[in-house]
Amino acid sequence: MSAVLASATLKGPHVDFAGLSPLMALLGGAVVVLLVGLLGSAWVRAHLVPALSLGALAATLGLTIWQWGEEKSILAGALRIDDLSLLLTMLLAIGGAATVLLAWRSLAAREAAHGEFHALLLTSIGGMSLLAAAQNTVALFIGLELLSIPLYVLCATEMRREHSLESGLKYLIIGSVGSATLLYGLALIYGATGATDFTTIAAAISSKGLASDVLLLTGIALCLVGLAFKSSVAPFHQWTPDVYEGAPTPVTAFMAVATKIAALGVFLRFFDVALIEAQHSWGPAVATLAAITIVVGNVGALGQSSLKRMLAYSSVAQAGYLLAGVVVATQLGVRATVFYLAVYLFMNMAAFAVIVARERQAGHGDKVQSVAGLGHTNPWLAWPLTLSMLSLAGIPATAGFIGKFYLIDAAVSGGYTWLGVVIVIGSMISLGYYLPVIAAMWMGEAPVPASGTPTPAPLPALAGGSPELEEDSPSTPVKSPQPEVLFVAVLAGAATLFFGLVPQPLFDLVHGAGSGLGLF
């Protein structure tokens, strides 16, 4: 017996290292960063580690550009390398780089130890990249877990702040429920179709006439719920505001942007490829979810005094807009979704960078007062946030307008005109919370620094914490925004404006994204 086993050659799949290279750069970078983080010098930990993460992300970006234009399935059909997955990986790398810059001098990275923080971040991006390329339900699930588990930890990295821990725990519980639901759904779909491969599932649905099979539909419903949890689609969004508010702001920025990119990427590939034959069953359901999400997100954001909570609800609403591109299941819809994801990356990064800067500067946390009078005191922060708010609201001359235009265009030509109207109604409601932020910046008075210098309550001692960590008091307000945070804010704001005036480069980039999915 053992002889048989010994002589049997294990036939592994052919590994296309070129196609896999962006993912390898990310995960390899995570290992390197983790090891370098163990080195003794404080300077190495605080500066070399983030620099190495940036290097890994830059390598990922470079490798995706190198692979650009490839159309292939790798690892025995588990992953698909095409314009969609490469473009999403590119966006993830950019979003990740922005996160690294925002987290460079953050409390979270220091408390969690820099090596771990950045290794978790890179692993999570790796999971997202895997998810965006997944072409097989197993790869999908692995990608999802690889993205989620590091994120649960990242949310709790400010481990001496109660809200951060609460946020991490909440996300862990809700995320696990979502994952379990998704896994159940995937199992049911496997049961119905006998396949894990997306294209085989699609073929099985059409050849066996399963489009109205109860087992399959139950599976689809469970998958929809699972993914809705991940991408914070109402009514599965309740965790979003709490988790976003509690998590360290750079992590919130990362969750808001990157998770959404990955989740919408898997929505596109799973629903528009594997389940395309059942589109008439899930189409109306997803459209209804999108409409509910748009309304719930926008109404929830009204009257929020915490900017992070406001942006959390706004991200719920934006998920609703994005789903409109999934629902129509056309190439145009895919392109519009990816276009909006790119725009979404820039406008949210601009907003979060300003919040990070103000949190470290003003001592009002992420309250709206923290940006009051910013137009007078620091126009370099006020303009990016203004552009970001206008863009999120969909005002012309910003990229958000073009993105929304594209999505409505896709919805109308896909026969979902009413969803297009819901999108604009959502935009109307959204003016009610985006414009007051602008008003606070430009029309408000700069507040008196809260009770002199904000003296932070002494943080509870950390079990196993070493006194050397306390060398510089973490919450000392800085005089002016740190250059790397300012850089992210200004660059993202400028991109928001630039792509609003000259959107053609972005259109060229997303042009191929829809063609790989075999839609019409």
């Binding site: 003016l431 414009l435 700069a446």
Partner: protein, 563 residues
């Protein structure tokens, strides 16, 4: 010369002014106030110091230069436009977003040639008026002001539906800042007013956005053509009546809010009260015209069946605006709100003319757009002058009795007031006459009721004039005639009013052909009922009387052509 220069010249001047002021302001205040600028919030009080007086003036001067240059260009375009031309001239057509079929297409025709003249004239006047005042943070003020001019000119010149919508939405944003940052009243109050104004008007605009996208997509789908938003292409791709109707209503909502028309004017009183007068001059004089212009440029040519279908509804809204606006205007005591509600009434007349759906009414409406802009801006400026003499109050009960001490001001005011009430001999009279003539042909009953509006206009205009200048001298009123600088602002516009009174043909003849072309499809859609029911029966009766079997189309000409 490409039209882009006209559009972007003001914005460029605004940006340049802001850059110069920031650069000089910083270098001048760098040394002595470095401590303060580090703390931040005193940075702008430093620029108000004597060292930076010239830096503070630069944005205003540059803005004035830009608006006057734009006015010069616009006058050139008006002179260049020969009345007989049909179709667009000076076309700029570049593909902006090829995937969406959106072109950056600009052009001048009879519909917008006078309106860009109006817009540039009023912006130049308002910029001049603004230069007479000190502004807190002038570089930002003029930046927003100039951005507004660029957006308004863009909306007037755009020949692509998506581009029009973009400019239409964009032009509101500078006003959000201008009202919120430099408006009158306490901060929370003005923030509330500006938020209300912007949300109110953007609600309409966003509905219009979805309707515009639907127009492009559905028109190309229903006709099997590639996606396009260029207006001239869309006119060749008729939409089904069902799609037209909801799309038309969305557009109408946007335009009526902007005007404002009666049930949708909720933002107006607060907005008018809080706007700085220079901003209000262009808002009332120019922005409201974009709404009316949108009907002529977009709604009537693209959705003719729907326009015909909703003709009565629109006429009733117009009528309600006339009656409501006039009636509220003569119960108000705030001079600004009198001007505001009179605008509601005047815009009602313009809507009335457009939806008479015949060339006379629409031509009158187009003339009246120019006229109303020309009278309301000087009227508001005079209100500001009077308020300055009445201790800052804009309440007409606190004004009065200065006509003899201020004869020039009184004379200028009289001209404006008489033009407002459409005195025979003024261009406003010609405009209203044509509008009523048009409506008379379309809906007799509505025309008769609308006549009441003409009478009421004289009531509120004269009431304002008498209460503000005659009567008893108000408490704390300081009687002093108009100063030289204020004359420089006011006299040019008043002379344009007088010029149009003598020679309204300048506007009428330029607009004629384009208006006819714009109204023709809707007119055709509105009239077949009548021609089918009345005229042909008459013709048929005639031909039967002549005992000749009619094989032709049944009109009189065919019958008469038979020997």
């Amino acid at each position: 010369m490409p039209l882009s220069i006209l559009i972007w010249l003001p914005a460029a001047c605004g940006v340049l002014g802001a850059l110069i002021a920031t650069a000089t302001g910083r270098s001048a205040s760098a040394r002595p106030t470095s401590v303060i600028t580090a703390a931040g919030e005193h940075a702008d009080s430093a620029t108000g110091g004597p060292a930076n007086a010239s830096a503070a003036r630069a944005p205003g001067a540059l803005a004035l230069l830009g608006t006057v240059a734009a006015l010069g260009l616009a006058i050139g375009y008006i002179a260049d436009y020969s009345p007989g031309t049909s179709g667009l001239t000076h076309v700029t057509d570049v593909v902006w977003i090829s995937e969406l079929g959106i072109h950056y297409k600009l052009g001048i025709d009879g519909l917008n040639v006078m309106l860009i003249g109006l817009a540039t004239l009023l912006f130049a006047m308002a910029t001049l008026a603004a230069n007479l005042r000190q502004w807190n943070r002038p570089q930002l003020f003029y930046f927003h002001f100039m951005l507004a001019e660029s957006a308004v000119l863009g909306a007037f010149l755009a020949q692509d539906l998506a581009l029009f919508v973009a400019f239409f939405d964009l032009m509101l944003i500078p006003f959000y800042f201008m009202i919120g940052m430099w408006g009158r009243g306490e901060r929370p109050e003005r923030v509330r007013a500006t938020l209300k104004l912007v949300i109110y008007t953007l609600v309409g605009s966003l509905l219009m956005l979805s309707a515009a996208i639907a127009t492009g997509v559905l028109a190309s789908e229903q006709n099997g053509a590639p996606l396009t938003f260029v207006l001239s292409n869309l006119q060749t791709l008729p939409l089904s009546t069902g799609s037209q109707e909801w799309i038309f209503l969305f557009f109408a909502a946007a335009f009526l809010v902007k005007m404002p028309a009666f049930p949708l004017h909720g933002w107006m009183p607060d907005g008018y009260r809080t706007m700085p007068i220079e901003v209000l001059m262009v808002f009332s004089g120019v922005l409201s015209k974009v709404g009316a212009y949108g009907f002529l440029r977009i709604a009537l040519p693209l959705y003719p069946q729907a326009a015909a279908h909703f003709q009565t509804l629109m006429l009733l809204i117009a009528l309600a605006s006339i009656l409501y606006g006039s009636m509220v205007a003569f119960t108000q005591t705030d001079a600004r709100l009198i001007a505001g509600f009179s605008s509601v009434a005047q815009m009602g007349f313009i809507t009335l003319g457009i939806f008479s759906l015949n060339p006379q009414g629409a031509q009158g409406a187009l003339l009246q757009m120019v006229n109303h802009g020309l009278v309301v801006a000087p009227l508001l400026f005079i209100v500001a002058l009077l308020a300055r003499r009445a201790g800052g109050s804009e309440d007409i009960r606190e004004m009065g009795g200065i006509a003899f001490r201020a004869p020039v001001l009184a004379a200028l005011f009289l001209i404006v007031a008489l033009a407002t009430l459409a005195m025979p001999g003024s261009a406003n009279f010609v405009g209203e006459f044509l509008i009523l003539l048009g409506v008379f042909q379309a809906k007799l009953a509505i025309a008769i009721i609308a006549f009441a509006g003409v009478v009421m206009a004289s009531v509120y205009a004269l009431r304002l004039f008498i209460r503000a200048l005659h009567n008893r001298v108000g408490k704390g009123v300081e009687a002093r005639d108009i100063g030289l600088l204020d004359r420089v602002v006011l006299v040019p516009v008043v002379s344009v009013i007088l010029f149009f009174a003598v020679y309204p043909q300048l506007a009428l003849r330029r607009g004629e052909d384009s208006v006819k072309a714009a109204v023709a499809p809707a007119q055709a859609a509105a009239t077949p009922v009548r021609t089918a029911s009345r005229k042909p029966t008459f013709a048929q009766a005639m031909s039967q009387f002549q005992a000749g079997p009619v094989t032709g189309t049944g009109n009189g000409e065919a019958a008469g052509a038979r020997p």
